[in-house]
Symmetry: C2
Subunit: 299 residues, 2 copies
């Protein structure tokens, strides 16, 4: 769900960047500009279920809402550990606020410092892998790649013989054939199973200049969020400020053969977002605009 | 104008504490919780005209919106100096944010550290005097007293003789009689002037437990803003958290003989504000609730 879709100055009812991603049973908060707690309330997001917050970089429009969320979580009785992924310095910022607030939290904050130089796995469980990767911005900045792991093959119930040993089910789900003691194939896996559900993948490129090295990092993701701060007429200004135009975002999406492109981080100079969509679709037809309060299906 | 009227958890459309006060030609921002820049936009306040920001204390609901305002002021081309009055540590918080943002400001920030122990004049010009004074809270916390200075007497045009020397006008405005060379009264001041317009005074008590020492500090102000976080049934809880009940606020207003009482900082446990008004009016009839977007005349 999109909580904020605008760039550094809020305008036309659009807020600073923030998103909620639901994947593999997890609810993840990605970036949180000033006042994000109000957007979470407005869209009835259960912040208590968010155990991981990803902050791409330390420009105010991407993280200034974090402290408000941390204080509110304390006030609403949070006990669960909260893991925050951010650039070097975010821990110092949090600590400095806490030092003068007199507050102590009844929940643990686990801070993971991002590596802004290199693609890195930052979280993994049985269902999901999350990576950070460098973006091209004025200060250290990371994108994030969220991937469901390859799922288990689906057993076709009616093809399973009546006396089939139960301990072999996991092997089938794992894609293995069933062998006898001498290693001879008793059942070929593909006769008893069908392919797994497709795993979904989402890439988030918050603030970045045009950067072709992104193509391999986000190759063939189902949904790519890529900033498009400016229309293509402002290409020169985009280069100077390490931001992207519509065309930049669409070229990256096209070359990386992604499923769909979601654009946001619109500059406050534009009221109407339609020209952004039009310009992107000229290059990459499957483009959608980030609209606050809207939910997008990744796959 | 009230920008936020709720306490630490936003609720029922009510935001964190923030106010704009217009006095003596100045536009002053008093406290600014998370996301205050959105409230300033919503109510069309010209933030560029605000040259003084007063932060009562370092609990998040009173200052977390400050950095967003500072960054937005830079982005919208501010050049004027901005003076920020706050508790020890606020400068360190600002500096820590700036250190990692890579930002430099094209305007000067002048930080004035408040004295949380003693009533102190913190600003003065020809028209206004502003004082801070200690409140009773869990961490160092100040209230603010804004007073228009005594205004000049008004000259009654038709009573001024035709050949009256122009250099004597200021003496009349100052309340002086006009004397001849030997010191004899030529014109009695009160015959040529009428009394000045009344000077307005506003006191702001953001977060405080019941504190009778406030009475002399805010004695007879035209308008007193006093927090009333809880209804009187929660008196015990108010005492524990160094907050006030409706009754506490109304007793202070009554004993200080203020003109009107404005209450706010309502706890998120209450949806309806009417019982707050009713309970205060039982003690002090001239009570108004802080309603976001509403403007109140101080005098």
């Amino acid at each position: 769900m999109i909580l904020g879709s605008n760039s550094s100055l809020p305008a036309y009812g659009r807020h600073h960047t923030s998103q909620i991603l639901n994947i593999g049973g997890l609810s993840l908060l990605i970036d949180c500009g000033d006042g994000t707690q109000y957007q979470l309330l407005k869209y009835k997001v259960k912040t208590s279920k968010v155990d991981h917050i990803f902050i791409s970089h330390l420009h105010g429009d991407h993280y200034l809402g974090l402290m408000g969320i941390l204080f509110s979580q304390q006030l609403t009785g949070r006990k669960n550990k909260l893991t925050i992924y951010g650039q070097r310095g975010l821990d110092e910022i949090i600590t400095t606020h806490l030092k003068y607030s007199g507050a102590t939290f009844n929940y643990k904050i686990n801070f993971i410092e991002l590596n802004p130089e290199q693609q890195t796995v930052i979280f993994e469980n049985n269902e999901v892998e999350i990576q950070s990767f460098p973006l091209t911005h004025r200060i250290p900045c990371c994108g994030f790649l969220f991937k469901e792991k390859t799922k288990e093959r689906k057993i076709i119930g009616e093809k399973i013989p009546r006396d089939f040993p139960i301990e072999n089910f996991q092997k089938l789900k794992n894609g293995e054939d069933i062998l006898d003691e001498r290693g001879k194939i008793l059942f070929k896996n593909e006769e008893l199973t069908s392919p797994p559900n497709k795993s979904a993948s989402y890439a988030y490129c918050s603030d970045t200049g045009f950067d072709e090295t992104l193509i391999e990092k986000i190759n063939m993701v189902d949904l790519l969020y890529h900033e498009a701060t400016f229309l293509k007429e402002k290409k020169k200004w985009a280069r100077q400020t390490f931001h992207s135009t519509t065309e930049d975002a669409a070229i990256i999406a096209k070359q990386a053969k992604v499923g769909k492109l979601l654009i946001g981080h619109f500059s406050a100079r534009y009221n109407d977002v339609q020209p952004f969509i039009d310009e992107c679709r000229d290059v990459f037809p499957k483009t959608l605009p980030a609209v606050e309060g809207e939910e997008y299906i990744v796959r």
